[in-house]
């Protein structure tokens, strides 16, 4: 056990830190074009798709180096890349399961954010039970025709392409009749309608596909292999971002302490109130535990040990923590925490939620409710932990394939 970084990794961290301190945008990026430009600056500097193999534009960088970059970005509150799903999920899926033609056609444009991607999995009646999805893809000889509806599609409105799960065979067990496709969503047969979220933003969408066209060559893997591919996809979603996430929580904590110094209640600064101190001390301990756990996961990833089902523990841990964290922040801030515009000067800080784009306490608080729903809800994670990590018996389920 030795938690020190090697001198090479330290040198890399220092260089990365200097780069970000110099290059981080000084003003808020408002338009998609501005964000795309920032993404390309990051790409040119070698900070996008670092873990991808070199032949596809990456550097096969270690998990630790990727975590260092994410962490340094979090330190300076740098805006994220814009093609998060493309880089984090679609690219790796194509690299693992795609053809050479897919790799040539799509990967570079993902890295450079020339084409933005979304993930077309969930449907109105297929959420946690994703395998029950109904969207059909029919073989029309020279192409597939897609009919159906997707929902909760993050970044659907700004995307050009989608990674699609659709049913190609209704005669077999539900998990076996699903295939994975790459679909151009800028075509007449695809209608993308933004949905307003509880945060007030419109990040996710409904996507209606009516006679939409997918090229024959854009099937990923074999027909019927979609479920298996989706399982590997989901595991890419829980990579080494946890350290950066904790760094964002930590900067938010220092803002919270600043606020607790500035606000007075009952004639004294909040920070001198023993109840407030107890709450702050408790949440900071939890925050640090998240950091230690992130280091532990990172050390395993760095040695090439995939966490497997144990990644469910990480996901459950941070997403549930994040809810407690921002709930506590808003308890301490009182109604000030709910203000979205017009916050008093001393509270007017940039607080970065773990994802999403808002920068207020109110936004972070609302956004923290998303993490225990997407990528497998907390209940689903607990099922996975119970069955696959602890080996507890499976529950009786009406749809269980015998």
């Amino acid at each position: 056990m030795d938690l020190r970084y090697s001198s090479d990794d330290l040198a890399f961290r220092d260089a990365t830190r200097r780069w970000f301190e110099t290059n981080v945008p000084k003003v808020e990026l408002k338009t998609l074009d501005e964000r795309r430009e920032w993404h390309r600056t990051l790409f040119a500097a070698g900070y996008v798709g670092m873990g991808w193999p070199p032949e596809y534009g990456g550097q096969a960088a270690s998990a630790l180096r990727q975590a260092i970059v994410a962490d340094e970005m979090a330190r300076v509150n740098a805006p994220p890349t814009i093609n998060g799903l493309g880089i984090g999920i679609v690219g790796p899926t194509i690299i693992h399961h795609g053809t050479e033609a897919h790799k040539h056609r799509y990967l570079k444009k993902i890295l450079a954010a020339d084409e933005l991607w979304c993930q077309l999995y969930s449907e109105p009646n297929a959420g946690s039970d994703l395998a029950s999805l109904k969207t059909r893809a029919e073989d029309k000889g020279d192409h597939f025709e897609v009919n159906g509806q997707k929902i909760w599609t993050s970044y659907g409105a700004i995307s050009d392409w989608g990674l699609l799960l659709a049913r190609t065979d209704t005669s077999v067990a539900k998990h076996r009749g699903i295939s994975c496709f790459l679909i151009n969503i800028r075509q007449p047969g695809v209608d993308v309608r933004p949905l307003k979220q509880v945060t007030g933003n419109q990040e996710f969408c409904e996507v209606f596909m009516t006679g939409a066209r997918v090229e024959k060559s854009d099937l990923v893997g074999r027909l019927g292999q979609g479920w298996e591919i989706a399982q590997t996809t989901l595991s890419y979603e829980r990579g080494g971002n946890s350290l950066a996430r904790v760094t964002r929580y930590t900067s938010a904590f220092h803002e919270l302490v600043k606020a607790a110094r500035g606000l007075r209640r009952g004639g004294r600064p909040l920070i001198d109130d023993p109840l407030v101190r107890a709450k702050l001390g408790r949440i900071y301990a939890e925050l640090e535990v998240q950091r230690y756990a992130a280091l532990r996961v990172l050390s395993a990833l760095d040695k090439g040990e995939g966490p497997g089902a144990a990644s469910s523990i990480t996901k459950l841990s941070y997403s549930e923590f994040e809810k407690r964290y921002f709930e506590l922040a808003l308890e301490i801030l009182g109604p000030y925490g709910q203000i979205t515009a017009g916050l008093p000067e001393q509270l007017n800080t940039r607080v970065s939620a773990s994802s999403g784009h808002g920068e207020t306490w109110a936004y972070a608080y609302l956004w923290s409710r998303a993490g225990t729903i997407y990528s497998g809800s907390s209940e689903i994670q607990k099922n996975v932990i119970g069955e696959r990590v602890l080996g507890l018996p499976k529950e009786a389920r009406a749809d269980r394939v015998k």
Binding site: L3, I313, L392
Partner: protein
């Protein structure tokens, strides 16, 4: 960067597991619960033989010069076995003697401790049960070349078997740590009985107890720093032991949930039970990260070592209590019986929860670290 145990550490863990599985079975533990002394001389000698008592002592005094990570590995296994005996208080006090003692003091105590001939403990808290060394009320007055100590200490672990007790007392120079032998005139021990019969505590009354000038550990007035350091180590050590107890309770719960059937199916197939087990695992794994990060930070003298010790103690104290409590719930009625072993581990975790500072105190320390 590597969070996993190295080969030697893994070997130590395996060796500890097999020794305790064989020598410290629940039947042995129960036997010692009923024993007036409460610990086994033979087991203590075996532990000395295995090198556990001198694990973190300097080689010059018969130790192996290993660190807090290795100590935590052993203590986790001891918690897992609900080992009854003065291991934790002895190695903690020995560490202080090694760190601050004179040549003579080290020679007097350390080889004996390493070979299993001597036991030690520390009397940290006065009657107000404050873990803040600055509030120590026990007094030390100059008497000739030596000192006279007066005061009342509470919850001194394994004092009745200790050959030497570390006593913090307020001297004119400031807080000072004294090495006191329990047989000294004016010292009275009053044992208490608590729920964990594998943890023995006593109150110590000091009524003008005379000690020589050689009883001072470190310089007069250096006690606050020494005690603070000791409490930090004690916090991590206790957290490791609570972690072991919690993991044992989790393992027993998962095992039971697989075989106990109700409504025609194993209870582990009910989400209410399965989700509980998943939450318990989450807290156990987080506790593991907290304990070993903090242990490593102490060994590496990392800048956040003090913070990490408080993080571990505050987090694991509550996590272990919850995990052990939920284990009882998973077991139903059988978990509430004296016969079933679950309570051995639950009570061990509970006994350590307030020691070296409870969760609330460590949260206050954490806030001081991050806001000062």
């Amino acid at each position: 960067m590597d969070f996993a145990f190295n080969d030697d550490q893994q070997l130590l863990k395996n060796a500890a597991r097999s020794f305790l599985d064989e020598q410290c079975t629940s039947a042995v533990v129960r036997g010692l619960w009923d024993d007036p002394r409460g610990e086994s001389e033979a087991m203590w000698k075996d532990m000395a033989q295995l090198g556990w008592l001198g694990l973190s002592l300097p080689e010059a005094y018969g130790g192996s010069g290993l660190g807090m990570v290795e100590t935590a590995i052993l203590l986790e296994e001891m918690g897992r076995a609900a080992y009854p005996g003065p291991y934790l208080p002895t190695v903690l006090a020995a560490h202080a003697i090694a760190a601050a003692g004179t040549k003579e003091q080290k020679a007097r105590w350390l080889p004996g401790i390493a070979t299993g001939g001597a036991r030690a403990t520390s009397a940290f808290v006065d009657s107000d049960l404050s873990w803040d060394p600055a509030t120590t009320a026990t007094r030390a007055e100059k008497a000739g070349t030596g000192w006279r100590l007066s005061g009342a200490k509470q919850f001194v672990a394994w004092a009745h078997v200790a050959d030497v007790v570390l006593v913090p007392a307020r001297a004119p120079e400031g807080l000072t740590l004294f090495l006191v032998e329990p047989a000294s005139a004016g010292l009275a021990l009053k044992p208490v009985t608590a729920i964990d019969l594998g943890t023995r505590w006593a109150a110590i009354a000091l009524d003008n107890v005379s000690v020589g000038p050689d009883a001072v550990l470190g310089a007069p007035g250096s006690g606050e720093r020494l005690v603070t350091e000791l409490l930090r180590r004690g916090s991590v050590a206790a957290s490791a032991e609570m972690l072991g107890a919690a993991r044992r309770c989790l393992d027993m719960s998962v095992g039971y949930a697989k075989v106990r059937e109700q409504f025609g199916q194993p209870i582990g197939s009910f989400q209410a039970i399965r989700h509980k087990c998943a939450e318990m695992l989450l807290e156990v794994e987080n506790s593991h990260a907290a304990v070993y990060y903090a242990a490593w930070a102490l060994d590496a003298a990392a800048p956040d070592a003090a913070l990490a010790a408080s993080v571990a103690k505050s987090y694991v104290s509550e996590a272990a209590r919850r995990v052990c409590g939920e284990a009882l719930q998973v077991h139903g009625g059988i978990g509430f019986t004296w016969e079933y072993d679950l309570h051995l581990y639950q009570k061990r975790a509970k006994a350590l929860e307030p020691m070296y500072g409870d969760a609330d105190w460590h949260r206050e320390l954490i806030l001081r670290h991050v806001t000062d």
